[in-house]
Subunit: 131 residues, 2 copies
């Protein structure tokens, strides 16, 4: 299973993108608003996977509350799967907690869905559908 991206919560894309561009040696994608998650995101290429920087557009969003509770830092890891809804259904069937029961629109025009952190030892796991 491939790591599609590592999601990092930040207070400001403008303030943080340049350092990650310097570390990873490339340009970040133009900020994209993901309405369903109330974030603006930019992706950076990391040779076979990506780093996603997430800035909340609403302090009361999931990422906004994460920043209040923990500060900036790693927020989630996303794995590429062929069918997000089937993956979430399979986890549920094993008794694992999920945040989403079916896929929903995510960044880059892809469908995504989240397991609950309790399902993976405190790690918020996202699944991203690659058609």
């Amino acid at each position: 299973m491939q790591v599609d991206h590592l999601g990092i919560a930040v207070r400001s894309l403008a303030a943080t993108v340049p350092k990650w561009e310097q570390l990873l040696g490339g340009r970040a994608s133009p900020p994209e608003e993901v309405a369903s998650q109330r974030v603006r995101v930019s992706f950076l290429d990391a040779e076979g996977t990506h780093v996603e920087l997430l800035e909340p557009t609403d302090a009361d969003s999931s990422v906004g509350r994460f920043l209040d509770a923990r500060g900036e830092g790693m927020h989630h890891v996303a794995f590429a799967v062929a069918n997000v809804t089937a993956t979430l259904t399979g986890l549920s069937a094993k008794g694992e907690r999920v945040i989403d029961r079916e896929s929903r629109p995510g960044a880059r025009g892809r469908r995504v869905g989240f397991a609950h952190p309790a399902a993976f030892d405190g790690v918020l796991v996202e699944f991203v559908e690659w058609p």
Copy 2:
């Protein structure tokens, strides 16, 4: 720059390895003790990168204190570089905080070194040397 691995802090390798093996569809490496970090670790392959599960061998280690403060979850991200000491020196020269000034022995017989989370927006970044 390639993501060598994503490090996840857990209380028990024995209790958590099976679920990650099931998610990623492979077997974890046999637990290895990393004396310099007071952890036992297992690696799982994730198509071009890896997931590292870390169990502290000492409650007062860095990972042990992380678990007390935050519970299980994502602990660090590691990037593969040709020369860890040179990478750390370069960061320091730019005024960034580092935990290690030079590389030290890490898991899998590789030399490693850590930047300070303050250098990368709250993300603990490790560098791993691939000869």
